[in-house]
Symmetry: C2
Subunit: 123 residues, 2 copies
DNA sequence: CGGTATCCAAAAGGATACTG
DNA sequence: CAGTATCCTTTTGGATACCG
């Protein structure tokens, strides 16, 4: 992989860059990891993700659904019930971001040490 | 991996989440991929990354340096010459983000199809 | 319950001018 | 050349109110 092809062209990102932003976005990462474990209702996801606003969760899920990563199953009952789950594509995406997340977790100690050394050298 | 531990606590993200944001940031991704190939001078990186402002490139490189992913070598010459390269930790990070980037590239067709179907169903 | 619409505050990002 | 400092625009995110 080269950096060319991931550049911005005039006034716009390359399309794969947008997908990368969707899956690594603040709530996208958490939604994918939560949904990898099991399907969730909207309100379950809200609780699982902590302090996400309705607007941001809706926006995140719609983006991931549009990209074909998340499946939305709205049951026609009252009160409404909507279940979210991963598609096969979404499961692949979740594995990728989980791998990246796991790496940051594994190396967090090294990062902390590096930061301490960096800050020390400048104080 | 569970989603707990990646939540926000009160008014702040968990630390590994910040590292993930650094390496997946707009310019962080491109800088890591460019530096994985070879070390670059500041101005070389500016050109390689396309249309990044000096401010954002500086900020990105400082963040990655502080996290211990990038090595900054400022030679005491006139005019100044500063070379950036990856540390061992940074090389690991670059491999991870490149894997994720490669996945989005591989699956871009599926995403496009999903988007077309999504948009079609709503028009 | 699971959203949408609107408004507003905060943060990110960039253009420009300047410096060692 | 490789930054820093300042200002300003754009984007993001959340709070609130309302709807089917």
């Amino acid at each position: 992989m080269t950096v060319s092809g991931w550049n911005l062209d005039s006034d716009q990102m390359c399309p794969q860059r947008l997908v990368l932003e969707h899956v690594t976005s603040r709530w996208g990462v958490l939604a994918l990891i939560a949904l990898e474990e099991r399907s969730h209702r909207f309100s379950e996801l809200r609780r699982a993700l902590g302090r996400v606003s309705e607007k941001m969760l809706t926006q995140t899920l719609q983006t991931l659904e549009r990209d074909g990563l998340v499946h939305r199953d709205a049951k026609p009952v009252i009160p409404p019930r909507v279940d979210y789950s991963l598609t096969d594509l979404g499961r692949e995406a979740a594995e990728q971001v989980r791998a990246l997340a796991a790496w940051t977790e594994r190396r967090m100690d090294d990062v902390h040490k590096a930061r301490a050394a960096y800050d020390e050298a400048r104080s």
